[in-house]
Structures are given as structure tokens and as C-alpha cells.
Amino acid sequence: MMDCSTAKSKLFPYVDGELTPELRDQLEAHLARCGTCRRLVDLEVAFRETYVDRLRPDPAPEPVREQVVTLLRELGQGRRASRRQRQLKRLVVCVGAAFLVAVGLSAGIALQSYVGTRTTLAELAIAAVEQHQKLVRDLLPPDIKNVSPKVAEEWFKKRLAFNVSLPDLRTERLHFLGGRISHLREVEVAALEYQVDGNNVSLFIIPEDAYRQLRLKDKPRFKVVSHRGYDVVIWRSQGAGYTLVSEIGDRACLMCHAPEEKLEPLPRPSAHL
């Protein structure tokens, strides 16, 4: 005869379907005559059905998928082949570079610079969303937290070679959580975490040079891109570029503007990535 204490201690393996047939029979015999233990099992089953059964692994981001596709292709072709391919690519690049130098076309050099290093608005937005997700999930721990925006601003100014100016608006609806020095498309940036009305918002401050390389038009001042349900707003101010990522659209503007301030609505997203 199984007692309540033993029955309760077997609750998890029972619901997991991991008990031996003998133990399961003993437990079920106990449950048939004990309402208290039966209720515990019912609650556990309800908890599993409500939450646990609906849990899913974190999805692999698109860049990771692309990397895996490339890796599998290379593995499939065999390492020797891929090594030969890399050597061939290097050779082609060398020949191409020599040709450009020989011809002496400055336009060609400019083109190489343009193609090789330029980050597009879309790439910046995708990278910012990815970083935002990592920040929210604590995958990128903050370098500095539990300080005021002013203290954080000083901290960044000592470490980054461009003008980092943090919004310092005091409203109960806005909380500065922390920040870290991070990278967007290999550019060093200040990554800042906020909560606006309980919603996570990330602000990335990027060097003005990097912003200029995006080659964006002056108008509209705020560029808006939508990616995976996130709104990405990009603009330039005070000698730096700003990239704001949130799921709350215009409400994220509370980062820099008082709640009572009347603002022009943000333009519609120029792209849905």
C-alpha cells in the first residue's frame, strides 16, 4: 500500500510517464482512493497542458540559419573541395585587385569600398533587432546598470570615441535598465536598455561616420523599418546616429519626449524585412 508521502514524491515521474509499470499501478491504486493526491495530479496535468506543452525552443535567427546552410553545403562538398574553392576565391580577389591597381581607376577603388564596407539600412535594422532580442533575453549582459542615464553617459564617453548622449527624461513611465558596449555590423556602439510602460526598448548610439555610410536621405528625418514585428527607428542627432528598437511604435518616442509633448506621427515603415 502506497502512502500519500510516497505518492506525492512520485508525482513528477508519473506525469512524465517515467514510472515503471509496477510503480505506476501502485500509484494509480492510491489515486483511486485518495482525493487529495488525485487533485495534485490534476493540477500538475493542467499546468503541463496550459504552459509546459506549449513551450518551444528559441528559434534560430535567420543569419544563424544561413550560416548553417553554408556550413552544410561546405561539408557536403567535402573539405578539400571547399579549401580549393577558398583558395580560388582568394586568387580571384587578388587578380581583381591587381587589375584595379593596374588600370588605376579611382572609381573602381571607390566602388570596392562601397561594395565591401557599406552597411545598408536593412542590414542595420536586422542587426539591431537581433541585438535587442539578446539584450532582452539577458544573452548580452550589461556592462553598467543601476545608475542614472547621466552616470552611464559619462561611462560611455570615457570609452567610446564618439559623442554618446543619453536621453535624460524623468518620467515614471520610462526606466533606464543599463547599457553595454556592443557591436552592430562590426561597428562599436553604445547599446542601451530601457523600459517604456513596461515594454523593453533598446537604443543603439552609433558613430556618425557609420551613420553616414548608410547614405540615407535627409528627409524624412526618422527612417522606420519593420522587422519580425519590431519597429526600428533610425535618425541622426548631436553628432551620432540613433537606432531605436521596440514593439510599441510611436510610444517608444517617450524615450526622448515628454508624455504631454505633441509629436508628428512617425512615417510608415519604408520596408518590412
Binding site: P13, L55, L139
Partner: protein
């Protein structure tokens, strides 16, 4: 189907679980760990026993790759699950369970937490416990498969699972109990 195609299909099928497990093992280095694990699994695929499941097999490889990486660096960051291997812990068995009564989830059900809130709370479990809870409750692996992956007896898996699940319930009932948190994360307002 040739073995190359078979391997590729299996990786694509389990890519999300693989990435997720890489995040558990090596938070900031997950992408590298994922790639290195796939490459090593590819080399070992001719030895894979087709009567077994692919997922626990490649998870075991990923864990071993991470152990090798940590050995190479001669550094075991404290937040890594693998850094907890030498910790003494109670072991339970199916025959002689030592567990006390599991925390009833009644309060959590009444609070109507969202699935994402539960997911977020799992991310805040101590790494040693989080690994087992993720493998069981998200990946759906059996106790025995998990024991093989983490190279520990089934009793140890049960013990960690029990502790992890109870701690998770504590977090959900009392969100501020989570280490390193100051009221951030799981909301307690039932929204």
C-alpha cells in the same frame, strides 16, 4: 537517401532545438558552438546508430564539444552549466525517492501567467537546473536520454529536474525571487 542528405535533413529538422541548447550551454558563444557541433557530428555520422534518436545523439556531441572548448580555454565561467559538474547534490531514485512534496501549481494557474512568462522564468533558472528543465520540458527528452547527454545517473537527472521545476514555480509565484533581478521580467499583474 545518401547519408549526406540524411544528415542535412536531420540538422534542419532539429535546428531550433540545437540552437536553443547551444544558448543554454554557451550563452554568448552559441553560434560558434552550434557550427562546431554540426561539423563534429558530420564527421561522426557514419557511427550513428540509426535505431537511436538523432536529437539526443547530437545534443551529446554538442555538450562534449563545449567541454572541449572550455578545456582549451582552461577556463570555466561560473555561469556555464558545465562548471557545476563537481557540485555535490542529492540523488533520488524511482524506488527510493527523497523528494519532498512538489509545489502545487495552483497559484500559477490562477494568476494566468503567459507561456512567454514561463519561458522567461526558465531562462533565469541556475544553469545546472535550467539545462535539465529545458531538455525535459522543452525538448521532450526522456530521463534516460538526458542522463546520457549530461553523463549523469538517471537519479541525478530526476533530482535536478525536481529542484528546477520547484524553483521555477517559486519564480512564477514570487518573480522578485530570481537572482540578479530587481523586479524586471515576468510581470505579476496577470496581464
Amino acid at each position: 537517401m545518401d547519408s549526406g542528405t540524411e544528415f542535412q535533413d536531420a540538422v534542419y529538422k532539429y535546428l531550433n532545438p540545437l540552437y536553443n541548447y547551444a544558448l543554454v550551454l554557451a550563452r554568448q558563444d552559441a553560434e560558434d558552438l552550434l557550427q562546431e557541433s554540426i561539423a563534429r557530428a558530420w564527421e561522426a555520422f557514419h557511427r550513428f546508430d540509426r535505431s537511436q534518436s538523432f536529437k539526443p545523439w547530437i545534443f551529446t556531441i554538442m555538450r562534449n564539444v563545449q567541454i572541449d572548448r572550455l578545456r582549451r580555454r582552461r577556463l570555466q565561467p561560473s555561469e556555464e552549466p558545465l562548471g557545476y559538474q563537481k557540485e555535490a547534490e542529492p540523488v533520488v531514485s524511482l524506488e527510493n525517492p527523497l523528494c519532498s512534496i512538489p509545489l502545487a501549481p495552483e497559484d500559477i494557474l490562477l494568476r494566468r501567467e503567459t507561456v512567454e512568462q514561463v519561458r522567461e522564468a526558465i531562462r533565469h533558472l541556475p544553469p545546472l537546473l535550467r539545462e535539465i528543465v529545458e531538455l525535459r520540458d522543452i525538448e521532450g527528452l526522456s530521463y534516460r536520454e538526458i542522463a546520457t547527454i549530461v553523463s549523469r545517473p538517471v537519479g541525478t537527472v530526476m533530482s535536478r529536474l525536481y529542484r528546477g521545476r520547484n524553483l521555477l514555480r517559486t519564480y512564477l509565484v514570487e518573480p522578485r525571487e530570481r537572482p540578479g533581478e530587481k523586479g524586471i521580467g515576468v510581470r505579476n499583474d496577470g496581464l
